[in-house]
């Protein structure tokens, strides 16, 4: 479903992505681990086209998307959420989800009818809001709601585009334990058809949801395997997991 081969990117002398390759089957849930500065977010930015890699290829569903624009990749089904909330501050939560839903139903360029009043769009907004727990906040302005709700919206926006590959960048960063639980349940309810890549720092969550794991360090893939293998791997124990357990 998602196939990355030999992706490389350097900023001056700094190699942020070194020959990164990975291959995800349809419906696979991959967790990406790695210390700060390992190049996880930079990898996401390259996958969605916000940063252009120096070399390598990115295929979604067999289609090479490496030279496509951000928006074309998104419309093709590659959707992402951001580590730092990147939201529409001046409008409401319902309207935000509506904008995303309008793109996925090809109604965002209608120039006569209202996309936000469209039945299909409304249905997606309702479903998505239920999925991420925002049913009661649809009328609230994004700038007025709490950080936790903004975090839910961050994931909601990515979901409302009805992606086939979903990239989530630390969806639970900065939220409390009850919301991590809620996020866990959300993942449980998402369709198994959806291919998901998650950058995650919460180890319990990561090991629970992952079908497979990739560990990045200094821009390089240092481990790839199942969560079970990850637990066994002594190298990972020493370098990463041990250090994280203390944190």
């Amino acid at each position: 479903m998602l196939e990355v081969s030999d992706l490389c990117k350097r900023f001056g002398a700094l190699e942020v992505t070194k020959n990164v390759s990975m291959r995800l089957e349809k419906g696979e849930r991959r967790v990406i681990l790695g210390p700060n500065g390992a190049g996880k977010t930079t990898l996401f930015n390259q996958l969605v086209g916000e940063i252009i890699p120096d070399s390598g290829s990115i295929k979604v569903n067999g289609q090479e998307v490496g030279d496509w624009s951000v928006e074309k990749r998104a419309r093709f089904g590659l959707s992402r959420s951001y580590q730092q909330n990147t939201l529409f501050d001046g409008i409401t939560i319902g309207e935000s989800l509506g904008l995303a839903a309008a793109v996925s139903t090809s109604k965002s360029m209608w120039f006569w009818k209202d996309s936000l009043q469209d039945a299909d769009v409304k249905a997606i907004v309702r479903d998505t809001a239920e999925q991420v727990g925002l049913e009661d906040n649809l009328g609230a302005r994004v700038s007025d709601v709490s950080y936790g709700i903004r975090r839910q919206l961050e994931v909601g926006l990515a979901l409302a585009t009805r992606p086939s590959v979903l990239l989530m960048d630390e969806p639970t960063s900065g939220v409390g334990p009850e919301m991590i639980g809620a996020f866990h349940r959300l993942l449980g309810r998402l369709s198994r058809e959806l291919t998901i890549v998650i950058i995650e720092h919460d180890m319990d969550l990561a090991f629970d949801v992952a079908d497979s794991m990739t560990v990045l360090n200094y821009g390089e893939v240092v481990f790839e395997g199942t969560p079970g293998e990850a637990r066994e791997s002594e190298m990972l124990q020493q370098i990463y997991l041990g250090a994280w357990d203390d944190a």
Binding site: V48, E50, S69, V70, E71, K72, A74, R75, S79, R80, Y82, T86, L87, F88, D89, G90, I91, T92, E95, S96, G98, L99, A100, A102, V103, S104, K107, S108, M109, W110, F111, W112, K113, D114, S115, L116, D118, V145, S146, Y147, G148, I149, R151, L157, T161, S173, G174, V175, G176, P177, E178, M179
Partner: protein
């Protein structure tokens, strides 16, 4: 997001009635001022469409209206086309020119967007200024007005011409309203609030911006052809960048991003200009100082300020009614955000 609130509709109706009243009661000079206000209102309406809802601060909207005026003049005075047809052509060509400008400029942001639009406006200005075919510095005279005598309307009567302009303004308003409440307009507002996220959602940012810019150009073309008919003479001065700047000033004074606000702003601006010039020659000094004060005070503008105050009062009343329920939600929210904060540090 744009919503045609009852307040906006009420103000629009009030404005329309005031215009009709003025058209029937004012003497000749007053009706001329009324027509000036209405045509200017169309230009600033078009500007608010892109600046207030797309963040595209254009410094070429005055020039584009001038382009519309010249195209109308060419097709009527030079090529002898029927004025009605020429009006349509002027709107379409100005829309097309706007689309090209919008496509190119949409790739730039902030101050570069402003400069880029300024460049295109000046390009049009210099072109007209240098063109001997278009009369150069001397402009063009002998522009006809639309002939509606068939249906009993005499547009050489300044009152009836003013009412025609008013009808065009209302059509332009309905058009802008429709655009802003369409998928395209919704997407545009999203892009204004967060362009990066809009791209990530799959929005075709450049196309959306360029299309609304083009639709705004349609209104400008219509406004331009009306202003050519109004004075029946045009000069390159119409395209001068200070006109575009003035349009931006009016949008701010009236209330950016409210659609009806700039129309009120146009009326206030023109009336104030004529009032002030009765006492002093230094109108620019006064408008300059007002502009500085308005922008530094937060730039809500006349209508924006009214709407803001009413919204605040309503919010208070709602809060009072729902006080118990709200309080409960507040604490829930608070604990959530608190949890969020704790984890972050």
């Amino acid at each position: 997001m744009f919503y045609q609130t009852p307040l906006r509709t009420a103000v629009l109706l009030l404005f329309t009635l005031a215009c009709i009243y003025a058209a029937f009661t004012a003497e000749y000079f007053g009706v001329e001022i009324l027509t000036e206000i209405i045509i200017l209102a169309m230009i600033v309406l078009a500007l608010d469409l892109v600046a207030g809802f797309g963040g595209m601060v254009s410094l070429c909207h005055g020039a584009l209206a001038g382009v519309g005026a010249y195209i109308f003049a060419i097709f009527t005075a030079k090529l002898g086309l029927h004025p009605l047809l020429a009006m349509g052509i002027a709107a379409l060509i100005t829309g097309a020119v706007s689309w090209v400008i919008g496509t190119i400029c949409s790739k730039t942001h902030g101050i570069y967007f402003i400069m880029a639009t300024l460049a295109f406006g000046q390009m049009a200005y210099s072109f007209v200024f240098e063109s001997s075919y278009l009369g150069g510095d001397n402009g063009m005279a002998g522009i006809p007005r639309l002939d509606l005598s068939m249906i009993g309307i005499d547009l050489f009567d300044s009152k009836q011409f003013a009412l025609l302009c008013l009808a065009c303004l209302l059509v332009a308003y309905l058009f802008a309203w429709r655009i802003l409440t369409s998928g395209l307009g919704r997407s545009l507002v999203g892009i204004m609030h967060n362009e990066k996220r809009s791209r990530a959602l799959g929005q075709n940012v450049v196309q959306i911006k360029a299309q609304v810019f083009a639709l705004s150009g349609l209104i400008l073309g219509l406004a331009g052809s009306l202003s050519a008919q109004h004075i029946m003479f045009i000069s390159p001065n119409l395209l001068s960048w200070t006109h575009s700047g003035e349009a931006l000033v009016i949008v701010i004074l009236g209330g950016l991003g409210t659609l009806i606000g700039p129309i009120i702003g146009a009326a206030a601006f023109v009336l104030l200009k004529h009032e002030v010039s009765n006492y002093t020659d230094h109108w620019h000094l006064i408008v300059g100082i007002i502009l500085i004060i308005v922008v530094m005070a937060g730039a809500r503008g006349i209508y924006g300020e009214i709407e803001h105050r009413i919204a605040k009062r309503c919010a208070k009343r709602v809060q009072k009614e729902q006080a118990p329920k709200q309080a409960k939600e507040k604490t829930k929210e608070h604990s959530l955000s608190h949890a969020g904060l704790k984890k972050e540090h």
